[in-house]
């Protein structure tokens, strides 16, 4: 006890380039990223709703708004953030009630969250923005 000579050399900081987070951990990380992204884009999302509810004359000219590449990018980011956050959220709610809690299922559902949200983003994005 208390023998300092045998003390292990431990890293003093976390080397982010060496850490490999498992897929369920990555889902959790991107759940946070997508949440923060939506928090920042909240006024933009509300503006889109306002635009969609505007009078027929204003609405008719709204499509020019979406020709700007930055607006397309922001819309796509919003779609992905919502879909990833919702899918990951449903997964977390199920884990809370002990559904799919074994490692194999939890790992598969983590992959599913990434897959489903990316595919739905691409489908929705191409429908709305192309």
């Amino acid at each position: 006890m208390g023998n300092k000579m045998h003390k292990k050399v431990r890293p003093k900081h976390l080397d982010l380039t060496k850490i490999r987070i498992p897929v369920p951990g990555q889902v959790s990380f991107f759940h946070r990223v997508s949440g923060v992204l939506m928090f920042i884009l909240l006024p933009f999302a509300l503006y889109l709703l306002k635009l969609s509810l505007s009078s027929p004359t204003v609405f008719a000219s709204a499509h020019t708004f979406f020709t700007h590449p930055l607006i397309k990018l922001m819309s796509l980011a919003l779609m992905w953030a919502f879909l990833h956050h919702a899918c990951a959220g449903i997964r977390f709610l199920l884990l809370d009630v002990h559904k799919g809690i074994d490692l194999k299922t939890a790992r598969a559902s983590a992959y599913a969250v990434f897959g489903v949200s990316i595919v739905l983003t691409l489908i929705l994005g191409s429908l709305v923005l192309l």
């Binding site: 949440g35 909240l42 006024p43 969609s52 509810l53 505007s54 919702a86």
Partner: protein, 119 residues
């Protein structure tokens, strides 16, 4: 057995646990219900701009939307506050960010009311 006394209490600018955990889940479920309901309504109405405007013209849709937006704000508050608590260590800066977060969310609420009642 030791318990945190008043002196040792750490200032994090938050409550300590279960209530926020529960709020995060209840508000999430409400937002999911709203999303599904909106999708069902969207499918059932004609796919025209006029029908979309008429839908949001109903007071019930406005009220349901605004209640869901309250849930969204509460959910975002708990989530963003957790982010500040995790990464921002100086207490003064953290509490300042908490206040700015609340201002941002309150501004969004006022804008949401303006948008919903513009139809």
């Amino acid at each position: 057995m030791s318990r945190l006394g008043v002196k040792e209490r750490i200032v994090v600018g938050a409550h300590y646990g279960f209530r926020d955990w529960l709020v995060q889940r209840v508000t999430a479920i409400l937002m999911l219900v709203y999303t599904v309901a909106l999708l069902v309504l969207l499918i059932s109405i004609p796919s025209t701009h006029e029908a979309w405007r008429t839908l949001f013209g109903h007071l019930s849709v406005k009220v349901f939307s605004l209640i869901t937006f309250f849930a969204l704000l509460w959910h975002a508050w708990v989530g963003i506050r957790d982010v500040w608590m995790d990464y921002i260590k100086p207490v003064g800066l953290r509490l300042t960010l908490h206040v700015l977060t609340l201002v941002w969310l309150l501004a969004a609420l006022i804008y949401a009311v303006d948008v919903l009642w513009s139809v």
